[in-house]
Structure formats: structure tokens, C-alpha cells
Symmetry: C2
Subunit: 124 residues, 2 copies
């Protein structure tokens, strides 16, 4: 009898299919607080049921903007903020069964945009 295949421990999703939500936040708040941004992106990932691999945030000296990423087993969440324009660009790209729309309540609560536009692109 051949040996049983070794079960994999990898969290990588088996399918390349994914949904990529592209969000533009205008009139937003809390865009220069690195800890707040990091915690909010991680909360957004968890709200989608995603598995966090790494969180990297980089603050800019000028205007207090932040650029960063939460790398996920299911792809990524990124943010780039311009507090001086009260604007942030957010991407929530999730492969597998996760739905990036589940991140929207968290993002709206965290950054309180006056206006938010989104589009969702199919990937894979």
C-alpha cells in the first residue's frame, strides 16, 4: 500500500480566484496614527476571516502620512494615506472564500470618511 500523502499545513488557498476591492476614502480621519492604522487593517483582515502573515507600516515625516500592508495567506490589504488631503487609498485583495466587502464596516468605523467609493475586480 502506498504511503498516505502528507497533509499540508500551508494556509495558502487552493484557488487563484479572488476578489480585489479598491477603496478611495475622502474626508477621512485617523490617517496619521500608525498604531491605529495597523490595528484597523488587522481588524479588517480578521473581519474577512483572513490569515495575517505580516504587518508593515511606514510613517512619512511630512504631513504624517502612512503607507503600509497586511500580508495575508489570502493575498493582502494595503493603505496609503494623505492626512493633509484627508484621503486614503485602500486595497483589500482576498483569494479563496474570503469576501473583501466584509472589511467595509471596519474601515468606515476606523477612518470615518465623508465619502467612500469602491470597485471590486475579479482576479485569477
Amino acid at each position: 500500500m502506498p504511503p498516505e500523502p502528507t497533509p499540508t499545513q500551508s494556509p495558502a488557498p487552493p484557488t487563484t480566484r479572488g476578489l480585489h476591492l479598491i477603496g478611495e476614502l475622502y474626508g477621512a480621519e485617523g490617517l496619521s496614527d500608525v498604531d491605529h492604522v495597523a490595528a484597523s487593517l488587522e481588524a479588517a483582515a480578521k473581519a474577512c476571516g483572513a490569515t495575517i502573515l505580516d504587518t508593515r507600516l511606514h510613517p512619512f515625516d511630512e504631513h504624517g502620512g502612512v503607507t503600509g500592508v497586511v500580508l495575508l495567506a489570502e493575498s493582502h490589504i494595503t493603505i496609503h494615506t494623505w492626512p493633509e488631503h484627508a484621503y486614503a487609498a485602500v486595497d483589500v485583495f482576498l483569494c479563496g472564500d474570503c469576501d473583501p466587502a466584509d472589511s467595509l464596516p471596519i474601515l468606515k468605523e476606523a477612518f470615518r470618511p465623508d465619502r467612500m467609493t469602491t470597485q471590486t475586480i475579479e482576479r485569477g
Copy 2:
């Protein structure tokens, strides 16, 4: 006479305007070599004239896929690869004067896709 404003040393671009290239690579190669992927993304960033802040790659045990990001002063480049499907999802999001299309020759040379589709979205 009022003091001169202090010149800023921040590399953050002054505008929120950006271009976000979304690429799908099919029939691609070199998708499980973390060092190759990292070097290729960094070369793509440099080809666009972007400023690299941080490079983070995460290999998956199963199938040798890679997920990762190059954080830029001008936003980001991300990649997620499925070597078992010869597929990679690549994003090149650049604010300011950088043009993400300048990354395409590097990406094609690095991963030699049989077919590559791209769309470019205006951000900001």
C-alpha cells in the same frame, strides 16, 4: 522677516493622484523562487523611478507559492503566485509622476508569461 520654511526630506509624493496597474500573468515561470521574485519586484520599482522603503516576501510550503510586497514612497508593488497554476497576480500602484507601465518589460522578462492581461485604474 519670518524664518524660511524648513525644507522637507520626506520622499512622500505631494499629490494623491496615482495609477494602479493590475496585472494577471498566465503561463508564467520563476514563481516559487523567493529571491528571484524579490529582485524582480525591486527591479520593477527602480524601472519606474520609485523609492523602495521595504521588501517583504513570504513563501508558502505548499506548491512553493510566494506572497509579497515592495512598499514604496509612491505606494506599492505586490505579488501573489501559484506556481502549480503558473499564475501570478501583480499590482503596481504608483502615485506622483511614476508610470507603472514602465515595470512591464521587467515583469515580462522575469516571469515570462505566455499571456498577460493588464488594466490601469486611476487613484486619488
